[in-house]
Symmetry: C2
Subunit: 185 residues, 2 copies
DNA sequence: GTCGACATGTAAATTGTTACATGATTTA
DNA sequence: TAAATCATGTAACAATTTACATGTCGAC
């Protein structure tokens, strides 16, 4: 079986796709978003963003073009780019994402706004919440078994993690209610 | 002015230093820590860990040696390694760390356990808390100004961030009390 | 007219990922 | 004895950081 050269789409690539799907941006505009907003930990350095845009263009996921009423060319998603983004958004929430990539899960949720249906969003949040519950229970089990044997600083740091996940769990509950009550246009 | 070849110590390097300062470990043991515990987002791949250990050995920050009552050689910190780690731990908490690297700040706090004094820990937490307060106020200001103009998903994601920082703030308060009441040995 | 922000890029060095390779030791 | 885990590494590749380079445009 011949091995096909697989061009990967990285997390940064998806972040860019999601950003310009909401609003077309110049390369510089994308960099500013990563630099100045609380979007996640994506690199705003030109040496990361411009090569990423090249990759995405080569893959046919974005194009740089002049829009009506605009002076400057900006990047926007192609239909293929939108599809790629949707597939990413619809990937099931794994417990490993919950443990290590909560911020990516939240970014995905933000990008879903106009791309997925109300039902898909609710399914995402429900599954997020379910994985969170499992993970929190694991952490609590560890805490009651071995918590007292940890050094003070270590135990406190661990409890910070636990508190953070509990906050996210509560947020899920609230977000589910908010999406459910929201008028679908 | 001649430019001196600067060997950088990366975040992964510090994480390794901190780990083996708590307990000497083999390269494999370090990998397992990153893979199986909730320590942060450090790479457990051999292609990251072993080259990092080479770097640290070259810098004279760690050594691999046989300890008493042990069959296998393990890595541990040299005095220079401990100093390097302490300098890192004592670095002032910047608002940018609070915004983008809370997990690193918590890892540092965990590593402080036996390395810093009670007063230094309290100073760290106090400064962490102060920067958090500033950042949270910035976020709240943004929320009341522009929150209503955000799409629902974006606003909810933003509110997740806010809730997370608030949780960390409360944790700081609690951790300060816990450290303060703790008997210094 | 110059300062700062807008705007796009490149090159070198470093770092990390993925996949492979190897062998020892433990355990079922 | 076969499988799983311990243990250490390398090679090819992909990605990122850092630093540099260049030029436009509007404000003051």
């Amino acid at each position: 079986m011949k091995k096909v050269k697989q061009i990967k789409t990285t997390s940064l690539d998806y972040a860019i796709l999601g950003l310009i799907q909401q609003e077309p941006l110049s390369g510089y505009g994308i960099r500013k978003q990563f630099e100045t907003t609380a979007i996640g930990n994506y690199s705003s350095s030109p040496g990361a963003v411009y090569p990423a845009l090249d990759r995405l263009q080569k893959l046919g996921l974005v194009v740089k073009s002049l829009l009506e009423n605009q002076k400057k060319e900006k990047f926007r998603c192609t239909p293929k780019g939108i599809d790629t983004l949707k597939i990413w958004l619809l990937q099931p929430v794994e417990i490993n994402d919950v443990a290590k990539n909560v911020d990516v899960l939240l970014l995905k949720f933000a990008f879903m706004d106009t791309l997925l249906t109300k039902e898909q969003k609710l399914e995402y949040l429900t599954s997020f919440q379910k994985q969170l519950k499992i993970y929190i229970e694991q952490l609590k089990a560890f805490h009651s078994e071995e918590g007292s044997s940890l050094p003070l600083n270590g135990r406190l740091a661990f409890e910070h993690g636990l508190a953070g996940y509990s906050t996210t769990y509560k947020w899920c509950k609230n977000a589910i209610a908010a999406i459910r009550n929201h008028q679908e246009k």
